[in-house]
């Protein structure tokens, strides 16, 4: 037995004892205040101890590895994933393959799989939208769900009262989202960081509460049922056919989103956002209008949320304010940060993982939320930059005045 090993064991033991002590009242004692009985579940303490003993060892090992990697990273710059992304010979055929996969997907898997993939893709859209606000312009928005709600109710109500169809409302929803984005964004742009965060959170809640209370307008908590799915040339499709159709719609929307955001980041406006994030003062000294640039980001982000909302309403066929709580905003933010702020690929992965994970954790039953929480923490501790850290694509100037962007 050499020293380090002993040392490790000692540390693990301490951890084990600490956690046994820490979890004692909650894990071991269970009081039934009605029958006034206590049962002592000493087994749990044992499990905790053993668990803590080994996990703490793993934990320390992982931390050490992380530090090593960080130093390594600083040397060679990019991570493997990012490297792969740079390699055209790999990425182009892969893209094609994936497009094919996306197309055949609903025919390979059951309707349920298609259905949850739709919700996942809706969140991808939301994630990408919020990414404009948080990732590119660096504004922390905790009320994003408000615009999502605007879109959803836009479709539900316009359809209910005026019988407008999905395709008509989709742009309308986006537009309304943008309008609200400007309305809510304008007064609070002076605020920085967490102040902005809490105010946007407030706006999110306000919208929800209004929807809850204003029955005449929104039918209150009873919600709106039987929202139709999009029609395909008035054909009478079966439920599964409609689902598949909706799936293709959302896939196209996601592709569209990615395309637009790509174009934006490489544009004059995208550059302004990055600059604003880097240094506001210098940015203004370069003649960039701070308020206008921020508002643009807000409005654009909200637009995607609005369209996402329309699709969401069409998918669930029933909406009520309960679907638009602050937790939704939080989850969307999680997808952005966990995926890798500013990185499109990252955000997409983040959204898919965080939304699909709970679905597939169903088998864990009651343990799924606790697992979800743990996953979030671990992800951040061991990959604080997100799954795929953003490497900004910089404009590479070629002498010979060729103006094409590539990395």
């Amino acid at each position: 037995m050499n020293m380090p090993v002993l040392n490790e064991i000692k540390k693990s033991l301490i951890a084990a004892i600490w956690f046994m002590f820490l979890t004692f009242p909650i894990m071991v004692i269970k009081v039934n205040t009605i029958t006034r009985t206590i049962d002592w579940r000493w087994k749990n303490m044992m499990y905790t101890g053993i668990g803590a003993f080994f996990l703490s060892a793993v934990w320390r090992y992982m931390l050490r590895r992380k530090e090593k990697n960080q130093n390594a990273l600083e040397k060679e710059g990019l991570s493997i994933v990012q490297k792969i992304l740079q390699v055209k010979t790999f990425s182009i055929p892969a893209t094609v393959l994936l497009l094919i996969f996306a197309i055949v997907f609903p025919h390979l898997f059951s309707m349920h799989q298609t259905n949850i993939m739709i919700s996942a893709l809706i969140y991808v859209m939301l994630g990408l939208g919020l990414n404009i606000v948080v990732g590119l312009a660096g504004l922390l928005d905790l009320g994003y769900v408000a615009f999502f709600a605007v879109g959803a109710y836009a479709y539900a109500l316009l359809n209910l009262h005026f019988g407008l169809g999905f395709w008509t409302v989709l742009p309308v929803g986006g537009f309304l989202g943008a309008v609200f984005g400007i309305l809510l964004g304008y007064p609070v742009l002076r605020l920085r960081g967490d102040y902005l965060a809490i105010v946007t959170l407030g706006f999110g809640e306000i919208i929800r509460i209004i929807l809850e209370n204003w029955n005449e307008f929104s039918f209150g908590p009873a919600g709106i049922a039987n929202i139709p799915k999009p029609e395909l040339f008035g054909l009478d499709l079966s439920l599964s056919a409609k689902t598949i159709y909706l799936y293709y719609i959302i896939v196209l929307l996601v592709i569209f989103t990615v395309f637009v955001i790509n174009r934006l980041t490489d544009s004059r406006i995208g550059r302004a956002w990055i600059a604003l994030k880097d240094d506001e003062i210098a940015c203004q000294a370069m003649g960039i209008d701070k308020a206008k640039t921020k508002l643009r980001a807000f409005a654009l982000g909200a637009t995607w949320a609005g369209m996402g909302g329309v699709v969401f309403a069409a998918k669930t066929a029933f909406i009520n304010p309960a679907s638009f709580t602050i937790w939704e905003s939080v989850i969307i933010l999680c997808t952005v940060v966990a995926g890798g702020m500013g990185s499109i690929v990252g955000v997409i992965c983040g959204a898919l993982l965080l939304i699909l994970l709970p679905e597939y954790l169903r088998d864990f039953g009651q343990f799924r939320m606790i697992t979800f929480g743990a996953v979030l923490v671990l992800m951040m501790v061991f990959r604080p930059g997100g799954m795929i850290e953003n490497v900004r694509r910089t404009y590479q100037f070629k002498t010979g005045e060729t103006n094409d962007i590539h990395s």
Partner: protein, 262 residues
């Protein structure tokens, strides 16, 4: 000779303390002027005041805009001041750290271009033309300042002297009438400083941009500037050609001392 910047009785208070005290200053077209004075004399505050970062307590600021007529610019937002034709650099370098040298200059072009969201998304002919224009313009500016060899480097990885030049390049990209340089030579070695005053002269001569600079390096000031304004405790205590300033009793007493003859 027509003036481009007229500042009349500019006054700035921070709470009780008066940073600038009824300061009058004029910069003529195509002139290189210097603003000197001991540390804390209020030079940078003066820049912040006329560029709209601080609101002056009293006084008037007039700028001759591109269209040739005078405009009162106090109380204007910094970005508008820049659009009117007055650009600046910062004493504590404020480059966009996550961007390349070229991109930093491209940001400078923001105020003279117009592509909007739709343009960005559809990349129509006009937008593409504009993008090309931005790139070419930025590159040529880098050439003027002999920075082209860094074109694709990240701005933060540049040597200190080069970063100062890049700030100037970035400011030039906004097509200014008047360029405010805040201690451009700070932290440069003598050879770099030499190159710097060539640059400044070149900018003035080729682009006809008037320049007002804050500088502690007296050699540089004396070499290139036509008018020198001396401030102390926010007050103007002297003005004139390098010669006059050299022999200006008050100035010598207040500030220069003997080191000028060194």
């Amino acid at each position: 000779m027509t003036s481009i910047l007229d500042v009349k009785n500019l006054t700035l208070d921070f709470g009780g303390l008066r940073a600038i005290d009824h300061l009058n200053l004029t910069v003529n077209k195509g002139e290189i002027a210097a603003l000197i004075g001991p540390n804390g004399a209020g030079k940078t505050s003066f820049f912040n005041c006329i560029t709209g970062i601080y609101k002056p307590t009293a006084g008037e600021i007039f700028l001759t805009c591109r269209n040739g007529e005078k405009e009162r610019i106090n109380g204007l937002k910094p970005n508008l001041v820049t659009r009117k034709g007055m650009a600046r650099t910062f004493q504590n370098i404020r480059l966009f750290s996550s961007m390349t040298v070229l991109e930093n200059v491209m940001i400078g072009c923001h105020s003279i271009t117009h592509a909007g969201i739709l343009g960005a998304v559809f990349k129509d002919a006009a937008t593409r033309k504009e993008e090309k224009y931005i790139v070419d313009k930025s590159y040529s500016i880098l050439k003027t300042l002999e920075l082209e060899r860094f074109v694709n480097e990240l701005a933060v990885n540049l040597p200190y002297g080069a970063q100062r030049l890049l700030e100037i390049a970035r400011a030039m990209a906004t097509d200014p009438q008047l360029l405010l340089l805040d201690e451009p030579a700070a932290g440069m070695n003598p050879t770099e400083t030499r190159r710097l005053d060539d640059m400044i002269l070149k900018i003035r001569d080729e682009k006809g941009i008037a320049i007002l600079l804050i500088e502690h390096d007296m050699k540089l000031v004396m070499r290139i500037s036509e008018t020198i304004h001396v401030v102390d405790y926010g007050k103007k205590i002297g003005e004139g050609t390098p010669e006059e300033i050299r022999n200006h009793p008050v100035v010598i007493k207040a500030y220069l001392g003997e080191d000028i003859h060194a």
